[in-house]
Amino acid sequence: MISSSLEELSLTTDVLIVGGGMAGAWAATSAAEAGAKVVLVDKGYCGTSGVTAAAGPGHWWVPPDPPAAREAAVTNRVASGLGLGEADWMYRILDQTWRTLPTLAGYYKFGADDEGRVNYRAVRGPEYMRALRQQVLSHGVTILDHSPVLELLARSDGSIGGARGQRRQDGGRAYQVEAGAVVLAAGGTSFLSHLLGSRTNTGDGYLMAAEAGAEMSGMEFTAAYTIAPAHSTMTRTMAYSFATYYDAAGHELDLPFGPDQTLRLARALQRGPVYCSLHRLPDDIKARLHTISPNVPLVFDRWGTDPYRDRFEVVLHNDGTIRGIGGVRVHDVDGTTSVPGLFVAGDNASREKVAGAISGGGNVNSAWALSSGVFAGRAAARLARGATRRGGRLRPLGREPRKGAKTVDLAALRDGVRSQMHPFDKNLFRTGDRLAASADVLEGLWTEMADHADKGTIASRETAALLATARWSVATAGARKESRGLHRREDFPSQDAGFATRLLSGGLDQVWVTADTTSVTAKAGRLEAAS
């Protein structure tokens, strides 16, 4: 299967999985179980890379019995999703998660609660990803670590037939994988905030899908932020459910635990530094914090801070599309995109249909990453088996610089993305004027990038992906002239029934945004069928 020359490593497989977080790892397993030969490639290391590994994903978990429980969960989520969720998609991921997660028991030691009941839904990231890697390897999947994909490869009919990348721990040697079908599971992006575990997630999967001709959906929903001690990456929220906050003068701030706590915290941070104390955390939890989330207390411990007595400064890190919900538009729970041969899973896909207009963090995102991975792996295996493909010439889809390559200050371009996507006044509390100004800035940066940056390096592809994703986000946020869920417009503070629809976006040289009319028709069709 592997043939290599000095210049390039060349592999042929049925299914190629791009990205080895939870979505990619589940996809690899299910494709292999369906009989496919599978190659999984990751920019970093499948097992530690991505946001799954550093966090503690709690899965959306409702047993099928009694059936009323699932109905209630779905009905609640449809309501809280503010018109953008789809009940049947929710049922499917609830069911798949419930069936699949316990099958990892051979590799992951699920915890038992104080009554001895096994808890499947709450897993710890590093152990979960270690287990998923072992499971993937036991299925005979070939893993290429430290092998970022740089671009997809298309067949003459436009369908996707593989990818090219670089082996960064092998002198940057090029590699190519020819595949019957490709699953993009390269995660979301935090636009390079210090969100835990997100450094390798630069939106590469969005860029590559767009280059292949796919659309994005829900890119306006990038205004999710998570608390962390200042100067740290530790965006784990549990302990903060009992936090007390103070301003610089030491006055207690009114930031009660609840749905709008992050917004209030952001407002307070706009006025000045905010400090926090965890003294109200119940004693029994304090005593067990290091065995619940071992990475949380180590930050305080290493700084010599006693979080139960001292006040420490806190900040909010942008979650972008990670605890936000935008991504590649999917036509089915199996991650089918508008491009033949290309599937997406996990944060690489839009999660609007399962999360609605609010954050999928905390439960739905993991259930989606697992289920979409399982479905997409299976669908890709099926497609690869049926395809008569091999042999034809494959065309690389990354764009050459429009006006000729020259040295581009990529770090400055990335800082430019941060400067538009992180500040609260631009991305969290939005106005049409400020979004238009952001769009202008990003357009200028994109012009520099697209005109002159060489497509051959990881850094330049990451920068292009960040810029493309930011442009879609800002353009879509500008088009949604209302407030809904994670998207807040100060100039349009209320929800507008006319916008109870998903917004698609895309385009590289020319960004476009349009309403997803197919979803409305699909809904009408179903209603007719049901009545």
Partner: protein, 128 residues
Amino acid sequence: MIELIVADRCTDCGACIEVCPANVLDAGQGGLPVLARAEDCQTCFMCELYCRADAIYVAPDCDRRVAVSEAEVLASGRLGQYRKHSGWNEWAEHYPNEQWLMETVFRRAGEAAAQTRAVRPEGLGGKE
């Protein structure tokens, strides 16, 4: 960011080089990993989990380099602390994975907040 690899403890196994998602480390002379691209470190602590020799120290600071004294770190007992509390390898039987408690904590917080709201419906005097 990763600040220290204690040469005396390191067995040159190479695990940290392989698992670091941000490709921060290179094998140096004789195998001892060197912090080749420390500025790329994403402060995820993964290398510490995979270092069975407890030779790595990652400072929690993600946006600034900090001076770290090897003697102090060795004396502090913090090397290997994350791996230990995570119950990895030889610690499996000593430190249970209690991640399942998380939802209980959120539930209790919700109940406590609801109670506070009931007692003090005006919040803290509208200070925000």
